[in-house]
């Protein structure tokens, strides 16, 4: 063979910019791509916001009358639960999205590109945070429409929302693992619900845990979802009720950081091994 007409080494050097620069740039590209994907399915956006609205109406007007909470009107109690429940159910989209990318061979294409390995997961979880920002804004509006009022101040309310978003972000790494494990997106969805249901309903989201039987109460009171919800109540409503306190905020932060520290590396490991 006599074809050595090209320079002996055609290696294109790594483009300027350090590893971190490209890790961030690639994550931004993948985030951009995921966000565009969301906007291309407007009916999915519409119906995913209908669901939390239904829950607000259901608990505010159907069940709410039968539930009494010491210290605050039920609608004020309810909203923190709705916020957390909605971002948690939304995290399923992390599983479904990743699972679809795997199924469609998109991840395979990514693996043959010189992009940062971390970008697929970072881009997915970041896009979900951005989407959740939209979600909490919608719910705030809906909440106001049905009579919810902030009893502290705007800053503490925003702190509560940030805590909720942070919690959802930590969880989405866990849901990423499901997405990478499931054989297809339908299975991913089915796998997510048995985790979501006990966590959201056996919690302080809709009813005070004191109404539950003792064995359930122990779980419901201490599990992370209740901690985050009660912490949000402390921030949104202040110390108006004996059901929550400032210590919930510390527990919520501890749980969230703990979950993130455990779940993110596990997801990255799972991603490296998938394929």
């Amino acid at each position: 063979m006599t074809t050595a007409t090209l320079p002996p080494d055609v290696v294109s050097d790594a483009p300027p910019g350090g590893r971190l620069h490209w890790a961030i740039a690639d994550a931004v590209t993948v985030t951009w791509r995921n966000l565009i994907s969301y906007t291309r399915i407007p009916d999915a956006i519409f119906f995913s916001s209908v669901q939390p609205i239904m829950f607000v109406l259901l608990f505010r007007y159907v069940f709410g009358g039968a539930i009494s909470v010491p210290g605050v009107p039920y609608v004020d109690y309810l909203m923190a639960g709705i916020f957390v429940q909605t971002v948690m159910f939304g995290a399923v989209s992390t599983s479904v999205g990743l699972s679809e990318d795997l199924q469609k061979g998109l991840i395979e294409r990514f693996r043959a590109l010189p992009m940062a390995r971390s970008a697929v997961l970072a881009g997915r979880t970041t896009a979900d945070v951005v989407r959740n920002v939209g979600v909490v804004i919608i719910i705030t509006i809906v909440g106001y429409a049905v009579g919810f009022r902030i009893l502290t101040n705007v800053f503490e309310f925003i702190a509560a929302l940030l805590l909720i978003l942070f919690f959802a972000y930590a969880l989405s790494w866990g849901f990423a693992i499901i997405g990478l494990t499931a054989s297809n997106s339908e299975t991913a969805q089915l796998m997510a619900f048995p985790i979501l249901f006990p966590l959201t309903f056996a919690s302080s989201a809709f009813v005070p845990v004191t109404t539950m039987p003792g064995w359930l109460q122990a779980f419901a009171k201490n599990q992370p979802v209740s901690q985050v919800i009660d912490a949000s109540r402390q921030l949104m409503l202040g110390g108006k009720s004996p059901l929550w306190s400032t210590s919930n905020i510390y527990w919520a932060l501890a749980w969230t950081v703990g979950l993130l520290v455990v779940l993110a590396p596990l997801a990255v490991r799972k991603y490296r091994r998938t394929g």
Binding site: T3, T5, E108
Partner: protein, 336 residues
């Protein structure tokens, strides 16, 4: 000259624990810089597995491979900057437009925003997708997806291209066009490794052909060399019916070194001295009062090579048609 080797593989072995399949069982190959290597083989031969290893997606169990001397496992990042890949199934994002898909791949290849935009326009025009550039992939036909997938593989202007069955699912016109695109790239110095089920494609594009079956290389050489190994002439005898053909095949055993190949009411013999053997064939059949409907002499095609090597014809089942039949979920899963 080691310098002229763009892609090399030595003794690649890959066993899939699931199903205990030896997908690759010691495959070695070399692609010279600026040439096209055609990887030919029946379904399940291991072509896709080989491409996935060479493109750093899958590590081999043993053996090693390199692109321009860079190991595909140890220097995967360097290799990824040198290659473009269009997998067997178009891997595109359904919710993005054609242009957005190309941009995404371009940005992830670390090309500047401005340059990506410029190249995207040129590629869309080259693959006749300009009119569809701003439509989401959901609205694309199978052939359009395929073309977009290839366009995306080219955005990094890689010196080495891996194309896994690039023309499967394309109509004859698009196939011709794509062949021309590939020829132009090769003229510009690009090295190409392509897998194909179409012998015509390998014949037309490939400088070197490697035939694999059951994870092993069973033949290699130029298309002319492979044909020459087989014999110079194919004698094809048509008989009135399959029964007659069976009888005739029995009568003809012994006339040639290789056994006659029977297919329906046709018998094929691959021989060195065409006219002499043809005369003998006619004489023998005439003596036994077997009626011959027709007899032709021709040069062997790659199809004949394939048949004699693997014992079955290359599947050419889904020629034409714009729709690529999407693989089932289980196949997708397998293809990972």
């Amino acid at each position: 000259m080691a310098d002229s080797v763009a892609v090399e593989a030595h003794d690649l072995v890959k066993v899939f624990a699931k199903g205990n399949v030896r997908a690759l069982d010691g495959v070695s190959l070399e692609v010279a810089r600026g040439t096209v290597l055609g990887l030919l083989g029946p379904n399940g031969a291991g072509k896709t597995t080989a491409v996935r290893i060479l493109s750093t997606i899958l590590p081999p169990d043993s053996g090693h491979a390199a692109v321009f001397g860079h190991d595909v496992v140890k220097e995967a990042d360097t290799v990824r900057r040198l290659i473009g890949l269009a997998g067997q199934y178009a891997t595109v994002d359904e919710n993005l437009t054609g242009r957005e898909n190309i941009k995404m791949v371009g940005r992830l290849t670390h090309i500047s925003r401005k340059e990506v935009a410029r190249r995207a326009d040129a590629l869309l025009a080259q693959f006749e997708l300009t009119d569809a550039a701003n439509r989401t992939l959901k609205t694309y036909s199978g052939g359009m997806r395929r073309r977009l997938d290839l366009a995306a593989a080219l955005v990094g202007q890689p010196p080495v291209l891996f194309l896994d069955e690039p023309t499967t699912g394309l109509d004859p016109q698009s196939r011709q066009d794509l062949w021309m695109v590939i020829e132009k790239l090769v003229k510009g110095g690009t090295t190409v490794l392509l897998t194909t089920q179409y012998l015509e494609e390998a014949d037309r594009l490939a400088d070197q052909i490697v035939v694999v079956d059951h994870g092993k290389v069973i033949a290699q050489g130029t298309s002319a060399e492979l044909k020459a190994d087989l014999g110079t002439t194919v004698i094809s005898v048509n008989l009135a019916d399959a029964e007659g053909a069976t009888l005739a095949a029995e009568l003809l055993v012994g006339i040639t070194a290789k056994a006659p190949v029977l297919e329906g009411s046709t018998i094929e013999l691959t021989v060195e001295e065409g006219p002499r053997v043809a005369a003998e064939v006619l004489r023998t059949l005439d003596q036994h009062q077997v009626t011959v409907a027709g007899l032709t002499l021709r040069e062997p095609s790659l199809d004949d090579v394939f048949l004699s090597l693997t014992g079955h014809r290359a599947e050419i089942d889904d020629v034409g048609g714009d729709e690529e039949s999407p693989p089932s979920a289980s196949e997708r899963k397998k293809a990972r």
